[in-house]
Symmetry: C2
Subunit: 891 residues, 2 copies
């Protein structure tokens, strides 16, 4: 049996369905499903993604594919009662791409295909509208010329603008038929000149070329970039849907629109859409004409509107989710052209999921799984502080919520370049196009002077969870000279000029553009968010702690739901101005006595630090890591700083210089740090342990319960740990005896060296807990210095050698394999061993899921990411449950 | 049943035997065994090592031990017909330590125990020799005072020298009885003054104290150091043998000697011993009086000599090995006091083992196992080039063979300090004592002006495999002012002064001390050595290759038996003067074109390198590693050098400086190196691969067969390897097509990152071979930079956290565990996968054994260590066979 490459739909029957998304793409599956539901959809057919992948093997259509397509086309002709290429009664089609994942605007669509100098006459005859016919024809030539034949869009735009000028009109709809007819001829000349071949007049040849072009667009630069940013594999391929044309540009009882069944920014349960009368779909999406709100349709075409509302409701009920729909009204009759689950802001996603549970459409567990944990990142971003005075200089549409602050740039390239240098930038454009996504990704936020709520900028920014303002007509951009002006709403009256590099702030929730750096504050969590997090907490098994070095962070994290501190880095406390001198004296000490004197100065300060943190975390465990970084990190390295220090400690500069030189290391990451400091200078760890226990005892005197976990860093050998544990226990017991108090404490270790994971059974004999330090573990396992990898990692990512940054998401086959070994061997010696993770991976959803899978007790992450980890932990549990269910089902 | 702590021997019966070495120590077991063999041995008893370990628990003798000892003493009294402490007929005993392993001079012995003011009279009465009696007494007080009561030896020496002066004699034997008697009184006063307690007169108290002192000496500083250097565990403990005294100092028909049954330097089958007439054992070992060769005994006491020869032969036959014997002749009657397998030079060990096979005493396999692979190191050390003119300034006894060159130092501490700074030193001392072993270990070689072939210096140096000259009376040492002089053999006639820091060279095989740095050459291998290596090759399974970067090294290694090159580092070729400029141009190139131009200059040079190496290794595999180190290693870093380079390449200095700064890395070990260079600058690897294949093809044209293995370094991800393999294959096939030749080649990888070992199954799908780069693998697994570890590793070794340097011997539980994972997973994907090791561990015997165990195909090491690896591989096989035999026996 040969493979089936083409699936028909239309006339209330469809070969495909929503379940065939992988084969038919989102668009093809949606058209088939809607057809089955009895919703008015123009007839057509979809060529499968398999055909696309076959095509890439030899750059030709797989055998039989085009014949199948022609057969399906005949079926469309029958339903529409028109004939493809028939000069008297021509069938016109659109050719559209559609992949498994939604990639808005990333690939190409050709409308009005089938037109030539003969068929256009048939179209005119049927519509009694010459202007309409030639308008469709000129659009087709330009689209086909651009997309299929590779002519630059500008050439057609120039000729079009020239025509407007010649005919002294300002809008395309105002061009007379003969002008449009002339344009067709001009456009064909442009094609001949630029593409060096004539425009194809044979509709079948047009169809063949268009299908191939859609296939090819899968490897177009924009699509490739989009896939990389969104982790979509190249091997999915795209489908091609060929659909009978419906004309929204047939007059005032026609038009085209897009609609979200709920508000994609807030989640509010109300239709949210835009409509353009007498227009084709491309006009809405391109954001060139500013569309009307959907309510305009209700007033002007109430019957069609009513019919549409019924369709929208049917579809939402069927798909059990907020939908993003495209429709066209042709002569008062609505047709649905696309249905897909709508992209939405993180806040809206939460609101919608919680509402759908309340509406009894989905379960709580489904609601949890609907929210991507990473998307919460967006919800947790700061907002503009409403109590501060700000200077609003312009206002546009609030296209994607949140706030953003940065220096103005006017091109995507500039945005990428500056962001690479860690500068925060805001991208200001007349409108964005798919070429700009790299720059949009790099920018803090985006403003466009044109476009609407569903323009390219708006859709893409929402998907990225990035603040965006569109249709901000107040600003006038001079791209060439790199400034924009806003007129007369400056209090002084004149024009205000904002140059490249000036700071602006965006409020994506109100559409306000603010001059300068506005103060940003953390967002308030919505009620829906709190509800969802409660549901998540109820199902997850993994505990979530935070990495916090200050009482402020501890407090914030506890508010975000942290169930303890998984990593309190004591060295961060060493850097403050009033301490650093004592720290340096300690480091430069030549004798144990000198070192102890310096440490004695630090003791009360460290004790106070710990008291404050323990107090914030009262009753919850706090894991304190003893000093970890190499000592030279605390010492100045520039000549000026050295001179200052030399004066402070009353040393000759050259002596200090040579001491500092002696401290330097070839590979500090692999050097004298972690518990190696504790072994060589036990007095340092003794001071820290003393401070910890004194803090806990004094709090106990005040009735505050501290739960102390002392963590020994960079352990490679069980004897190293045993020695540091003995030191800790000895000092701890001494302090508790002195205070006559008992403090709950454990001594454990970080597992951050490959060796530690490998000999975890030996270490666990002594250690009460493990915490995977996956930052360093990744560096050692890969032999990859975070500080130096910038020189080659870009090539690695470009060449697809490392598709994911192992410092962002746990490298499961390497680092993860070691973690698994560590957990298994550790628990072999000590079944009750508590195991956590405190690397930055602890707040990254895929890594959290992995931690759940290998049986960790908790993850610890930055305060800001605690909710993400909580949700990710719930996801991990639910996925595991689903898989178990599947397995049980199979048995 | 209570434990038995004491084992008697004497009167032709013994409770112990040679098999009880662990319990009785080497000395106790030997005395028991000799007693059983009917050899004259003074009666006595041995207190077990178990008693010693019990003693350490509470610092008191275990219950019943001393009672058992007293009972055994009664048995000795009966055999000797003397009574311990009896003023009329006193029994005297020696109290000696003896551990499982021989630790020459490391622990303490007390002679003549049982003497006091009364018993000395009985002794005099029986011997009719007052001088003899008081000589024994004064020796006893000094020895007991030093060893048991902790008085410094110098105090007694001073008093003794004063007595010699007073009585105007130069030798101790010339002191009259009354002078010796006075000395006893003086010595007792010294004890009272220094130890703050009277000298014990009660023989039982003396015995108790002496036994405890011997136990305590197990944790004496010297013993602890010796054990650390020789990997002897603290938990073995020492035994104590209490033996009836035999007096070698009873007159001219008495004496004491030591004897090796074969020559311990050459292995020659001839008695090799020394004898002192009228002396006690301590006089020989201490090296204070220069002893006579054993032949002197044959002339003076032929009957005793004949009896001894028969004993020596009986013992050698019994033990099937060359023995180190201590004996005493008392009034013409010989007694054996100790038998042990004799320490010997590596050359002697080989000769003896091969001879014993020829004498049909042992099997070939036993012979192989008798030679410690590490000891070959010594055999393979360079010797002084005999064709060069050298200036011999002094001559002593050739106490330990080999050659050594270094700067003169006069104290063990200086030797240790300078060696720590990587300086080569020669230790020059009047004589050495156990306190000096640290310094002896640190020195290249040792010269002593006093002592003999069996003095402390000689015995210890031979054990260490270190060149040593003793009894070099030509040199006069001024320790205080740190120089030595040699008289009148300077051509100018005067005295020659050699100061600390001057270079000298030692020839340990001739006893010559040479001024300056003599040229050293590799030794010729003896016939016995070649025989042994042939036997080893016949049994081993593991192949042995070499690490060689030059044709010279390759040639040398092939001579040493290397079966291929396991690591040819291409970067070493980059450093030569005529190439480095092109290398630097390549590194500083800004475009691929510039880089290719620079590489084009290197191509012919690299090709010639490979041709020369392939030629030397004709028919054997050569593993070429593509460029590995970070590029900044090839770039100058000092201002002066940068200025020179800037001129050469015609760049402004500041531009060059900033380029160099941009190349620097925070952690170069984890940086832009290995195949990361190949991924980012493929043109570098392309040039290298081209050079390799062109070399192989051109050799093929000449009829020389190269077997090429191309090795990709620092692979972390299978896709990295796949990309570099594709590059290699592409270039290789191109070159072979151009030359119309086929070259046998494989592409494989180093496994030197933990991740590579963990995902070995993935990598092995593509890689034809693995080679463990255990240097870097150790750094990554431990998170330990070789360059920086000096700051803390000493503390780690001192605190017994890391008993062995993981860069010397493979850390089996960490790094080794990863290797095992790598081998298992790799062979899972590719069962025929060839796996080797090319880290420096490849020539270290314990590591070689480990490599055998985990199923590696080959080890690769420096040319110099190839024979060691060959022998170690044979050991590994034989040990495995023995274990299998044991297991099979148990079934």
């Amino acid at each position: 049996m040969t493979k089936k490459y083409v699936y028909s739909f239309g006339g209330k029957k469809a070969e495909g369905s929503a379940a065939m998304r992988n084969l038919l793409g989102g668009k093809g599956a949606g058209l088939a499903e809607m057809t089955r539901l009895g919703i008015p959809v123009p007839p057509g057919f979809t060529i499968t993604t398999e055909a696309c992948l076959e095509y890439f093997k030899n750059k030709q259509f797989p055998k039989g594919m085009f014949n199948e397509a022609v057969a399906a086309l005949t079926r469309v002709e029958k339903i529409k009662k028109e004939k493809f290429g028939d000069p008297a009664n021509p069938l016109l089609v659109s050719v559209r791409s559609g992949s498994r994942a939604s990639m808005p605007g990333m690939m190409d669509t050709v409308l009005n295909l089938g037109l030539n100098d003969q068929t256009v006459l048939g179209m005119i005859k049927k519509s009694h509208n010459e202007q309409f016919g030639y308008d469709a024809y000129r659009r087709f030539v330009a689209m086909f010329g651009t997309i299929v034949m590779g002519v630059k869009r500008e050439h057609f735009d120039e000729a079009f603008t020239a025509a407007l000028h010649t005919h002294r009109v300002s809008l395309d709809a105002m061009l007379p038929a003969n002008a449009l007819k002339e344009l067709v001829a001009t456009f064909k000349k442009i094609v001949m000149k630029e593409a060096k071949r004539p425009f194809p007049d044979d509709p079948m040849e047009q169809l063949q070329m268009a299908i191939a072009a859609v296939f090819d667009s899968w490897f177009g630069a924009r699509a490739v970039t989009y896939r990389r940013l969104n982790n979509i594999p190249d091997t999915w391929g795209t489908s091609v849907s060929v659909v009978a044309m419906i004309f929204g540009n047939r007059g005032d009882d026609s038009g085209t629109g897009v609609l979200f069944t709920r508000n994609p920014n807030t989640g509010e349960r109300r239709f949210f859409g835009e409509f353009l009368f007498n227009a084709q779909g491309e006009d809405v999406v391109a954001g060139i004409r500013t569309p009307l709100p959907i309510s305009a349709l209700e007033q002007k075409l109430p019957k069609a509107y009513k019919e549409l509302v019924s369709i929208f409701n049917t579809l939402e009920k069927h798909y059990k989710d907020m939908l993003d729909l495209e429709f066209t009204i042709e002569a008062g009759n609505p047709y649905l052209l696309q249905t897909r689950v709508g992209k939405r802001s993180a806040a809206a996603a939460v609101q919608i999921a919680v509402d759908l549970v309340k509406e009894k459409r989905i379960t709580k567990e489904e609601a949890i799984l609907r929210i991507s944990p990473a998307s919460l990142d967006h919800l947790l971003h700061p907002m503009i502080d409403s109590t501060e005075k700000i200077k609003v200089i312009a206002k546009g549409l609030p296209a994607s919520p949140g706030a953003a602050m940065g220096r103005v740039v006017f091109s995507a390239e500039d945005a990428e370049q500056k962001a690479a240098k860690k500068e925060k930038v805001v991208l200001v454009r007349a409108e964005t196009s798919p070429e700009d996504i790299g720059g949009m990704h790099a920018a803090q936020g985006i403003v466009t002077s044109r476009g609407g709520m569903t323009s390219h900028a708006a859709v893409v920014a929402r998907g990225m969870g990035k603040c965006c303002i569109t249709a901000c007509g107040d600003i006038r951009i001079n791209e060439e000279e790199k400034f924009f002006t806003v007129g007369r709403n400056d209090t002084e009256g004149g024009e205000l000029m904002v140059r490249e590099g000036d700071f602006i702030t965006l409020n994506g929730s109100t559409g306000e553009v603010i001059l300068g750096e506005a103060k940003l504050v953390k967002p308030e969590m919505s009620e829906a968010f709190q509800t969802l997090m409660r549901w998540a907490d109820a199902v997850r098994r993994l505990r979530v702690r935070t990495n916090a070095d200050t009482p402020q962070d501890a407090k914030m994290a506890r508010k975000q739901g942290a169930e303890g501190i998984g990593l309190c880095r004591t060295e961060h406390m060493f850097f403050s101005e009033e301490r650093i001198l004592a720290v340096r004296e300690m480091i430069l000490a030549h004798t144990v006595e000198e070192r102890k004197q310096a440490l004695a100065k630090l003791l009360p300060m460290q004790k106070n630090d710990f008291m404050a943190i323990f107090k914030e975390m009262e009753g919850l465990p706090v894991t304190v890591r003893l000093l970890d970084p190499p000592l030279h990190e605390f010492i100045p390295h520039t000549l000026d700083e050295i001179a200052v220090l030399a004066k402070e400690i009353d040393w000759p500069v050259d002596r200090l210089q040579s001491e500092i030189a002696a401290l330097s290391e070839v590979n500090p990451m692999l050097g004298h740090r972690g518990c190696r400091l504790g072994v060589t200078y036990p007095e340092i760890y003794e001071m820290q342990v003393q401070a910890i226990f004194e803090a806990a005892c004094e709090l106990k005197q005040q009735g505050v319960r501290a739960v102390v976990e002392i963590m020994i860093p960079l352990v490679a050998h069980q004897r190293e740990f045993a020695e540091m544990k003995a030191l800790t226990t000895r000092i701890g017991e001494e302090v508790m005896k002195r205070y006559k108090k008992k403090v709950a404490y454990m001594v454990g270790t970080m597992i951050e060296l490959p060796r530690a994971a490998l000999i975890a059974d030996e270490i666990a004999k002594e250690a009460a807990f493990f915490s995977f330090g996956t930052n360093d573990l990744t560096q050692m396992t890969f032999g990859l210095s975070r500080d130096d990898s910038a020189k080659f990692l870009p090539t690695y990512i470009k060449n697809n050698i490392l598709p994911e940054d192992p410092f962002v998401t746990i490298d499961q086959s390497g680092v993860g394999a070691l973690m698994q070994i560590g957990v298994e061997r550790g628990r072999k010696s000590r079944p009750e061993l508590k195991v956590g993770i405190c690397g930055e991976h602890g707040g990254e959803p895929a890594s959290v899921e992995f931690c759940h899978k290998i049986g960790l007790n908790y993850v610890s992450c930055s305060p800001f990411r605690v909710p993400i980890a909580r949700l990710a932990a719930a996801h991990a549990y639910l996925k595991e449950k689903a898989e178990k269910g599947k397995k049980a089902g199979k048995k």
